[in-house]
Symmetry: C2
Subunit: 216 residues, 2 copies
């Protein structure tokens, strides 16, 4: 289906378009123009049309895009309709918060695709307890559980020193993509995806622009 190489930035915008459309109550006759969607997303209208045109012709000249249909197309394109099994490594403060957030989301929105299937930690006190209804297991069980639940994505919330090791174990167990909250660059085999998330870096970026703004 998708033969073109889709740049990161485009995918990020598509995710955003979908979020915006989901917030819209719409009947089957409702249309939205690229200009309207662009304004809501804070981007250029030509960019919206180009982003969508990468995947097909969804609009109608003189009218715009049918809201419900476009929403459905975006779900299709992004694969946001099919469930994805997720595992969280490190049940500390942040891991717990994420586990609860994701399980709660799922409880209230049946279409929410991300299912937390396993939690891992090394602290013996935590093993066997549950968070958001999911049991905390020992990292030695990763391989078994990841295979049993066909876990595709791992969320890493262990301390930075432990991140690489945990990642290695997870990769061996068959996890294909990571969302890494530990502030370290992970070395992974070709083809394994890693997305980084780091509050300190975010704050530092904001600080830079704040200071720069003040100097003028």
């Amino acid at each position: 289906m998708v033969r073109v190489k889709v740049p990161d930035v485009v995918v990020r915008r598509l995710v955003n378009y979908l979020r915006i459309l989901k917030e819209k109550e719409a009947s089957p006759e409702d249309y939205i123009s690229s200009a309207e969607l662009a304004a809501l997303a804070g981007v250029n209208a030509a960019q919206v049309r180009k982003d969508l045109a990468l995947f097909g012709e969804f609009g109608k000249q003189g009218v715009g895009y049918p809201v419900l249909m476009l929403k459905q197309e975006l779900v299709e394109i992004l694969g946001a309709g099919e469930p994805v099994s997720v595992s969280i490594f490190g049940v500390g403060e942040l891991g717990t918060a994420l586990a609860r957030y994701l399980t709660t989301r799922h409880r209230f929105d049946k279409d929410y695709p991300f299912h937390v299937k396993a939690l891992f930690d090394v602290n013996p006190k935590k093993i066997g307890t549950t968070v958001g209804g999911v049991k905390v297991s020992l990292v030695t069980e990763v391989s078994e559980l990841v295979k049993a639940h066909d876990v595709k994505v791992g969320i890493i919330t262990v301390p930075p020193e432990a991140a690489q090791e945990v990642c290695d174990v997870a990769v061996r167990a068959g996890i294909q993509a990571f969302l890494n909250f530990a502030p370290v660059k992970l070395k992974v085999p070709e083809g394994i995806l890693v997305k980084y998330q780091d509050v300190t870096s975010d704050l530092q970026e904001l600080t830079f622009f704040l200071r720069q703004r003040m100097e003028r």
Copy 2:
């Protein structure tokens, strides 16, 4: 000092270079080449040199960049040396996790620049309690506390429905930059900075590329 307009991507990389250098034990005679730093950061060597050259000439031909000096320069450039007061809006699971993370970081690393000065919530049960040693206050006190502590950055961890309102209040109180964990686009006056952070979007992006990879 900085007169050029610095692109977002450059700042992100600078933050990364600094993190890498901080992990390095170094003596005053240690040098690092652009090639070495580039390899660690996963970017091109020419890019490292160009990023740094935006702010001055820090290297020595035939040798490289003095590690300690470069680290210091980056701290200077990013403003990572001066304390920045931060406030967290929404003391739920995620807000609590972030509050604890930031206060703990600060307790163990005196150079850590981000200080949590105030926490806000609307839940009467939480008001007056403390998290990481910081008191939870009612949102009506934002103005007073933000001014008293000269808070520059707000972290938004309230539910999506409440995010815009909280943001408005914070802007009126004088907050200049936001790290927004709520999955909604915030409308802010010209000049106020917003950085978005959303686990669901991150997972969706990863999912897209996972699926795309499998289709080939």
